[in-house]
């Protein structure tokens, strides 16, 4: 069965020639992918990144931006590998939210 990411050959509208300068947070997501993939760490394989992006489901392609999908897939890979735990990630997100509110 064709999955949602497998869109080659499907009908679609005109190519909108959009471009944007990547924001720092997007470049940092990219940097995380590069660093985790480096042989001395070997904590992220390109296949894992893709599998975890595809596992986000069809709606992710419509509702999430490119690097939003990437950071989600990177976080999920690290959870699956046990590099991070859901607990510590949740605590960290709460801490960041509190920092933001305090600013």
């Amino acid at each position: 069965m064709r999955q949602h990411h497998d869109m080659g050959g499907l009908p679609a509208g005109p190519v909108e020639r959009q471009e944007h300068d990547y924001a720092l947070w997007e470049k940092r997501v990219d940097a995380l992918m590069v660093l985790l993939s480096e042989p001395q760490r070997a904590l992220l394989r390109v296949d894992e990144l893709r599998r975890n992006i595809e596992a986000l489901g069809a709606a992710a392609y419509e509702n999430m931006s490119y690097y939003e999908r990437w950071i989600s897939a990177i976080a999920n890979t690290l959870l699956q590998r046990g590099v991070l735990s859901a607990d510590e990630l949740g605590r960290k997100l709460a801490e960041i939210e509190a920092r933001k509110t305090a600013e």
Binding site: H5, P11, H20, E88
Partner: protein, 208 residues
């Protein structure tokens, strides 16, 4: 607090990649990065260096490769035989990916896409434009490539063969565009200035 949006008054592109105020995914990036730094898996310096290295990769690198191939037949032969090794001669490392260079000719045009995701020769050209990652481009480049080329202003006569290359995670394609007529005797630097990113993806041609 300074609103950064007031500092750059140009209109924001309505790209799918949002860079607005900090939302959930930006927080997720901070969380993952800080946890990895806390565990000593990466350092803040590693992240900064990786961002700088990616910023330094631009289509100008690919343009140097193309201009060298246009002016040096030996280099061109090596580039077409083994792209990965030939770009290394110019200081470009492909890391874990393999580079395959496909040459345009009067009767042959090449176009690059990644239908399954967004694989792109990023070590040579830098990060891809948004449209390369778009549903429309990924879907249609393999189904009606001539129509897609027309949308980029490239009219390809029916007599010209068109090959579409679907990239994979491990194999990245770079188009070697045709050298424009009237550029005989030009220096490599002058030629490199003619080579656009889009011509190396194959959606346009180089013009003098």
């Amino acid at each position: 607090m300074t609103d950064i949006h007031h500092l750059h008054p140009h209109p924001h592109p309505t790209a799918p990649d949002r860079d607005g105020p900090q939302g959930y995914y930006q927080a997720l990036e901070i969380a993952v990065r800080e946890l990895l730094i806390g565990k000593g898996i990466i350092s803040a310096d590693d992240v900064r260096r990786a961002v700088e290295a990616m910023d330094a990769r631009t289509p100008a690198q690919g343009a140097r490769v193309v201009a060298r191939a246009w002016t040096n037949p030996g280099y061109k032969a090596r580039l077409l035989a083994d792209g990965t090794a030939a770009v290394r001669e110019l200081g470009i490392e492909m890391a874990t990916t393999r580079l395959i260079v496909v040459e345009n000719a009067p009767a042959l045009h090449n176009l690059v896409v990644c239908t399954l995701c967004s694989c792109y020769p990023r070590m040579v050209l830098g990060l891809p434009p948004d449209w390369y990652k778009s549903r429309a481009y990924r879907s249609r480049a393999v189904r009606e490539p001539r129509a897609v080329l027309r949308e980029f202003g490239t009219e390809l006569p029916e007599a010209v063969e068109l090959r579409v290359h679907d990239s994979t995670a491990d194999m990245r394609y770079l188009v070697l565009p045709e050298r424009p007529p009237g550029t005989e005797g030009w220096s490599e630097e002058r030629l490199a200035a003619l080579v656009t990113r889009d011509s190396m993806i194959g959606v346009t041609r180089c013009r003098a």
